[in-house]
Amino acid sequence: MLEKVKKRIGFGSSVREIGVLGALLLLILFFSITSPYFLKINNLLNIVRQISLMGIIAMGMTMIIVSGEIDLSVGAIYGASAIVAGMVLTNGGSVLLAILVALLVGAFFGLMNGVLSTYGRIPALIVTLGMMNIARGVALVICGARVISLSPRTVDAAGLDFFLFLGQGKVFNIPIISIIFIITVILSNFLYKHTIIGFRMRAVGGNSSAAKAAGLNRNLIKIFAFTITGVFCAIGGILNLSFLANVQGTTGNGLELDVIAAVIIGGTSLNGGEGTIIGTLIGVLIMGVLKNGIILLGVSPFFQMLIIGLVIIGAVAIDMWSRKS
């Protein structure tokens, strides 16, 4: 029976996902015992909303890390595309144009990351560290360190309502942000598990020389992963702008670390070749539950980072130790 289940899941190591899922369930159990508010439906929806933006980007980051690369620029791209969308809107552009331009900006930065780190032969760590500063710089230059606010005074009212609905609206009490997140998860999972691109990402990250000898175009695969991540960053940035109705040059600062942490907690190996979208989804949920639970327990928010740091190291340690035997 278990064999059958394993075969069904087939691609990727289901055992690790089950381990991470166990950790998530334990956390949920712990917080539901220690806090009466935790299991309330509103709180759960709150968690899902809070993790959605970070989660969308984590889907792309999983593909990059599985391909054997890393991207430090996601937070900055997220900020820059939101700034660009805000500028278009406040300068009389339509909602559609704003979204389109922001998506293009995200795709462009991602594409640059990919091209420079493959054909340009510069390590991705360096390229994306540079791109982090460039994208952040672009954002600050464009907005001149002001806060860009969306209000009826600055944006055409009909368009504004629609735009704000994306980030603040709900369908059947579920935030639209979260619905978009769930759609992203489903699409990413499909891409990763059922298309040749996902298969090749795992191959390239698992053994680059073998991938070359097997006739795979390693560069294109990596460029794809970077570019789609850029687009996901832009989607996140647009939704964040819509949710808050404002954006500033520093929006998304440090987001990349949360994203990478969620991917790693979800069982993706930094060495490449190994990891799943579902694992990352669980990793994102663990981050969300932790942050939310800590606040509910009345623990100082300063402890948040400390605890998340321990969880990152702990999750990888357990994985490494269990693999050794």
Binding site: G10, F11, H194, A210, A211, K212, A214, G215, L216
Partner: protein, 506 residues
């Protein structure tokens, strides 16, 4: 003669595997003692017990009359047992002297490191081993053979009594090997006992005093070298049945082809880095064309140039009369080429993937539908078919590739390339790290493909393999083809003499 090491009923059990069972024999002081056996016979396990990496599950290891109870590398070194492992343990970024004295640095005044004393001592040892390079040289600048001498220097500068060499010649050229043998002989004269592990039986016959045989973790006896020959050793190592299979193809079986069967031609091919020079040859339908040469003769490089992994400088390749570009493996595969790489771990296996996935990496046209979707049903059918055809021994096609034996891993790689539907099959060191039984299975797969009309270019540094399997042999030296051998000329003498002293003609 007095025994310096006594193995008494040594057993080593890993979860699910009995690597050694009740092995007992003696190593005598001052002898060169060879240990032979196929892969998985337990040689490495025994060496690792001796070197202190493994603690035996059962039995006694007695060194100079005393039982060893603590098994770790430091303890073994202190007793005077030095092991030069196949995968060398040097820090490439450090100099020779830094490596030799690593962990036991000599200190002078104020506990300052006394490099000049260390350098002098190190230089002396290097000189005695015939390695005339400054002790300050960074290890990464040395050739494999030189690095091996540094490993030996590391051991003997500690005044060791027993030196263990694990497959020392597997990466050496013939001249380098000869130099190693000289060093071994002079160490023996200085009273060092040598334990020598090798697959190369010719070497063992020439070099050692006695030889012990292991098979499937059990001890099969120790013989004075005068009492055995290669045939007898092969029988002892492989067991009767496998030995017969290995001899399957003899001169009479070799196929003859006419020029009409030529379908693949290489003309005046040179690589940009100069490792392949002006190589011309042809391949006939259904032919196994063997390439032999010493390390560095350019065999692997030739295959890589044909396959687009190495840049071509000049020359042309033609398949069925059509000239081909093959600038990258992608192009080469599209043009109908397939290549099993020299080292499957580096350039063949996808370690996180299962058998099915490892097979279906290079046949996109058969397993992709609607542009990008993976057709898992097709992947499964292809894998199951190949599993039967090639005889991959596995629980199912969803097993992770790293759980297979070397021979079965190699069969999966062969399967990958068969799935791509090749017209020319390039195979490089097909049976490296594969045990005797799986070897003969792999070669029967090659023969089956040959029967189907596939032309196969076989590169191997195992001369027996080339003699047994190839219909025609091209001998390479210094990047050029120096000799073509057919029929009865395919024998060891002619191959070796041409590989060593052959001259390029034309």
């Amino acid at each position: 003669m007095e025994a310096i090491i006594k193995f008494e009923n040594i057993s080593k059990i890993f979860p699910g595997v009995r690597a050694l069972s009740e092995v007992s024999f003696n190593i005598e002081r001052g002898e060169i003692h060879a240990i032979v056996g196929e892969n998985g016979a337990g040689k490495s396990t025994l060496i690792n017990v001796l070197g202190g990496l493994y603690t035996p599950t059962d039995g006694k290891l007695i060194f100079e009359g005393k039982e060893i109870t603590v098994f770790n590398e430091q303890a073994a070194l202190q007793l005077g047992i030095g092991v030069v492992y196949q995968e060398m343990k040097l820090c490439p970024n450090l100099s020779i002297v830094e490596n030799v004295f690593l962990g036991r640095e000599i200190r002078g005044k104020h506990r300052k490191l006394d490099w000049s004393t260390m350098r002098e001592a190190c230089q002396q040892v290097l000189d005695s081993l015939g390695l005339y390079v400054p002790a300050d040289t960074e290890v990464k600048r040395l050739s494999i053979a030189e690095q091996q001498i540094v490993e030996i220097a590391k051991s003997i500068s500690r005044d060791i009594k027993v030196l263990v060499l694990d497959e020392p010649t597997s990466a050496l050229t013939m001249t380098e090997s000869l130099k190693l043998f000289e060093n071994i002989a002079s160490l023996q004269k200085r009273g060092v006992t040598i334990i020598y592990i090798s697959h190369r039986l010719e070497e063992i016959i020439e070099l050692s005093d006695r030889v012990s045989v292991l098979r499937d973790g059990t001890y099969k006896g120790t013989f004075n070298i005068g009492d055995v020959d290669i045939d007898k050793l092969v029988k002892l190592i492989a067991g009767e049945k496998l030995y017969n299979e290995l001899e399957h193809k003899n001169t009479a079986d070799k196929k003859q082809f006419s020029d009409e069967d030529i379908y693949f031609e290489v003309e005046r091919l040179s690589s940009e880095d100069g490792t392949v020079k002006d190589v011309s040859f042809n391949l006939k339908r259904g032919e196994i064309l063997g390439f032999y040469g010493v390390q560095g003769a350019g065999r692997t490089e030739l295959l890589e140039t044909i396959f687009g992994l190495r840049k071509r400088k000049s020359g042309s390749i033609r398949l069925n009369g059509k000239e081909l570009d093959n600038k990258s493996p992608i192009q080469a595969i599209n043009n109908g080429f397939a290549m099993v790489p020299e080292d499957r771990r580096i350039a063949g296996l996808f370690p996180q993937m299962n058998i099915m996935e490892n097979i279906n990496t290079s046949n996109a046209k058969d397993v992709v539908k609607l542009g990008a979707l993976m057709d898992k049903r097709a992947m499964k059918t292809i894998s199951e078919d190949l599993r039967k055809k090639i005889g991959i021994k596995t629980r199912d096609i969803y097993q992770n590739i790293m759980q297979l034996s070397g021979g079965n891993q190699q069969k999966v790689i062969i399967g990958r390339w068969l799935a791509s539907g090749p017209k020319v099959f390039l195979v490089d060191e097909l049976t490296r790290g594969v045990d005797v039984g799986a070897k003969s299975e792999i070669f029967s797969v090659l023969r089956m493909l040959q029967e189907e009309g596939l032309g196969i270019i076989l590169v191997s540094s195992e001369i027996q393999e080339v003699i047994a399997e190839a219909d025609r042999v091209l001998v390479m030296k210094d990047g050029r083809i120096v000799k073509e051998l057919t029929g009865e000329h395919i024998n060891k003498d002619e191959i070796v003499s041409n590989a060593l002293i052959g001259k390029h003609v034309g």
